[in-house]
């Protein structure tokens, strides 16, 4: 067996992850907006007597990386030196993509150009002479449609076939080449620098790339050439122009479907109303379509519960109260959460995300955030932990930190069961409205926090914003199924793991010492000790305990109450809360502490414990204050 490592490098949103999935048979996160992959993902497959390790990387436009995700891709290419690079290229956008190709070839790594999205190329009536392209660039070129699967055998064959006919093509004018060779000589004089690709290093130094400069800083000084980066870029584009002119035939500008859709979706007057309606539709769709399924499940769990109670002794109670009434109360919302992810999948894979970011940019600007920062916020409605990861694409350090800190205030899907249970118990026909109001408050709070954090962190930098607008696509059934399943699966795993575990602990606490009535149980004692703190909010010890356990995972708030409820959660809630304190509980659940997984992600992304700790204290105080004020005012009014 021979081991080889292949890195996938390419512009954002060209289909690297789709290609990775096709090669390795995995189901990594694919969506139609730039910047989806923000970390290194590894997979492998076997081919003949090769054990091939494939590394999927974040998308980059050039090797002059700035943001964290870009640096991950560049560092892998430069420091880890893969045996082979598959440079994934969007065939409909050859010119822009080839810029990176040239840079990759300059690093001296063996490169294969994967000309992806060939179906789109055909649709747009573009003709590409692949053989000529390969000849011009001196590297193998393979056409693919990553979403329809790839022919591994032929790809590997042409990739490994020794076509190292290193043709030399002249990209740069002589004066630049002279400069490169003189710097290359300097580089050769230092042994520590030998591990870096000399030509890449020389060119990057002249370009004034910070990373390259930091490599040689201790070794020699680089002559600064005025406007060299411009000359280099121009030389590259002149070369690309000459290549593309030879290999590509493109029809004169045509009015595409994307243009037509953009005319409507980014319309000056209609654009924002359409955006709001889409958000409303997602909300409506998710709730109304999932309701019958949830009802069915709920009935099922009720019946199961009553059967379970037929089992005598503690076992019956554990299964009936702990597992079915507890965990079941959350599992009831599986359809809701799956439909939410299904709608988000449509949003993400259609290409609308970038447009939404574009429409809303003006508003975000008010809050000193870039339109790009809107994407993590929107994704936060699914799951905060994974949404926080996507802030890696934000360039400004402070802007990124602010985006991380405000993200938990967008109400994630795990909090939905809490709202759903409470509104069903207290607000009847107005339940939907109550939940919608929480969503609105969530947005308002997140944006207000952006102002406050901007002030506290003295954020003055406004980072430039570039958002690329991808083509619109009809999401495929298969793609949506994979998306919904891979995100929803996480919820099921949680239910079977941490939620189940926490619920069993709660059940134990509420049944110890044995045969004691619940008011004297360990749970009650713990709850009652802490309850005075929450007294002003009108929460009794049941709610207190539920909230504490909910810090592990938000759903546990519901399962804990379910465990106490002995099967009828709605009725039970009616005995411990009134409509005002119930809404206060919804507010509190919305705002108080990020869940453990989110805290861990915060730690990972900011590199210090300081921020998750800050976030916990901050949001706890905020939740307390808001719930308290709400109740004070509500009782005054009523």
């Amino acid at each position: 067996m021979k081991e080889i490592t292949i890195a996938l490098i390419g512009n954002p949103n060209v289909g690297k992850t789709s290609f990775f999935n096709a090669l390795t048979g995995s189901h990594q996160y694919v969506a139609n907006w730039p910047g989806v992959t923000v970390e290194k993902k590894t997979g492998s497959f076997k081919w003949n007597d090769y054990n091939v390790k494939v590394v999927d990387l974040p998308g980059i436009y050039t090797l002059n990386a700035r943001s964290i995700d870009e640096r991950i891709a560049r560092d892998f290419l430069i420091n880890e030196r893969p045996d082979l690079v598959f440079n994934i290229v969007d065939g409909t956008n050859l010119k822009r993509n080839l810029y990176l190709t040239i840079q990759v070839i300059e690093t001296g790594v063996k490169t294969v150009l994967i000309l992806n999205q060939m179906d789109e190329v055909k649709n747009l009536d573009i003709k590409i002479d692949t053989r000529e392209l390969s000849k011009r660039l001196g590297i193998p070129v393979i056409e693919t449609i990553a979403t329809k699967g790839v022919d591994i055998d032929s790809i590997m064959k042409s990739a490994l076939s020794d076509s190292s006919r290193q043709i030399r093509y002249e990209i740069y004018p002589k004066e630049l080449e002279d400069l490169f060779s003189s710097i290359s000589r300097d580089i050769q004089n230092h042994d520590e620098l030998k591990k870096f690709p000399p030509r890449w290093l020389a060119i990057s130094l002249i370009e004034g790339d910070d990373f390259a400069k930091s490599i040689v800083r201790d070794h020699f000084a680089v002559p600064q050439e005025k406007d060299a980066s411009l000359k280099i870029a121009k030389a590259r584009y002149d070369f690309i122009d000459s290549v593309v002119k030879q290999v590509e035939q493109r029809p004169k500008e045509i009015w595409t479907i994307t243009d037509a859709l953009d005319h409507v979706f980014t319309h000056k007057i209609l654009g924002i109303p359409i955006f709001i309606s889409i958000m409303w539709m997602i909300f409506e769709f998710t709730f109304s379509i999932s309701a019958p399924f949830s009802d069915l499940l709920s009935k099922g769990f009720d019946d199961l519960g009553s059967y379970a109670h037929l089992i005598p002794g503690w076992a019956g109670s554990l299964v009936g109260d702990g597992l079915i009434s507890g965990v079941g109360s959350v599992l009831t919302f599986v359809p809701l959460i799956f439909f939410l992810f299904f709608s988000m999948g449509i949003l993400e894979d259609s290409g609308y995300m970038s447009r939404a970011a574009f429409l809303i940019d003006r508003l975000m600007h008010r809050f000193r955030l870039s339109g790009r920062a809107f994407i993590p916020l929107l994704l936060g409605f699914g799951c905060n932990a994974s949404a926080i990861m996507t802030t890696r694409t934000l360039e400004g350090e402070k802007e990124r930190l602010i985006s991380i800190l405000i993200n938990p205030f967008t109400t994630c899907s795990a909090r939905l069961p809490i709202y759903a249970v409470i509104s069903a118990a207290f607000f009847g026909a107005f339940g939907g409205f109550a939940i919608f109001s929480i969503y609105m408050i969530s947005i308002v709070v997140a944006l207000s926090m952006a102002i406050i954090f901007n002030f506290l962190l003295k954020n003055k930098e406004t980072t430039p914003l570039i958002i690329e607008m991808p083509r619109y696509k009809t999401p495929t059934a298969k793609g949506l199924a994979i998306y919904t399943w891979s995100r929803g699966k996480h919820f099921l795993k949680k239910a079977g793991g941490i939620i189940l575990g926490a619920t069993v602990v709660v059940w134990l606490l509420s049944n110890l010492p044995f045969n004691a009535p619940i008011q004297d149980s360990l749970a009650a004692q713990i709850g009652k000790t802490i309850a005075p703190i929450f007294k002003p909010l009108g929460f009794d010890w049941h709610v207190t305990l539920a909230l504490i356990f909910g810090g592990i995972a938000k759903e546990v708030t519901v399962t804990t109450l379910g465990t106490f409820a002995n099967g009828n959660l709605e009725e039970f809630l009616g005995t411990i809360l009134n409509p005002v304190s119930a809404y206060a509980l919804m507010l509190f659940a919305l705002l108080y502490i990020p869940c453990v997984a989110t805290q861990a992600t915060m730690k990972m992304e900011t590199g210090s414990y300081k921020w998750p700790v800050f976030s916990v204290i901050w949001s706890l105080s905020l939740a307390y204050a808001v719930a308290f004020l709400f109740e004070k005012i509500a009782y005054l009014v009523i």
Partner: protein, 167 residues
């Protein structure tokens, strides 16, 4: 090469070609990048996307409230904020909107507007193919033109939608 040519033209007949900043270009304008004063990092990012002096940009769409704007270079659409685009100097390509041209003689080539706008043009008696003379005016103000010997003041917003070519 193109870049050098433009610079040359600017040097030779100062005032004839109008150089404006990109944020001033209304929708549907095509223009050629002349230079940019952006911070290095951002400039190199844009260069990787094909934003080089001498290349053509098409202004596609402005967001509600006028900012940001989607631009097309090659076949990539990207959105830029006014805060950034104001550092990029461009030269509009004819046919250019009336609002960005300097004084001189022009021919009206097309209207980029809805029915109401075209009605308005009719009432002002501005027709396609008509010759007009643009008088000196200040940036962002109403534009004073002479058409058929008549003096007409055209609002800035309207001038964005009248595309003219140098006579």
């Amino acid at each position: 090469m193109l870049y050098d040519k433009i610079l040359l033209r600017i040097d030779l007949n100062k005032g004839m070609v109008c150089i404006i900043t990109l944020n001033k270009c209304p929708e549907n304008t095509r223009c050629i990048i002349v230079e940019s004063d952006l911070p290095d990092a951002f400039r190199s990012r844009l260069m990787g996307l094909g934003w080089l002096p001498g290349r053509e940009i098409k202004v596609l769409r402005k967001a509600p409230f006028g900012d940001p704007t989607i631009y097309l270079v090659d076949s990539t659409e990207i959105s830029l904020r006014e805060d950034d685009s104001k550092f990029i100097k461009v030269e509009p390509v004819y046919p250019a909107p009336l609002s960005v041209v300097s004084e001189g003689k022009y021919v009206v080539l097309r209207f980029e507007g809805g029915r109401v706008f075209i009605q308005k043009m009719k009432s002002l008696e501005i027709k396609i193919g008509q010759e007009i003379t643009v008088l000196p005016h200040e940036e962002g103000c109403k534009i004073n033109v002479i058409a058929d010997g008549k003096n007409i003041l055209i609002g800035y917003g309207m001038a964005n939608k009248i595309f003219v070519e140098k006579k």
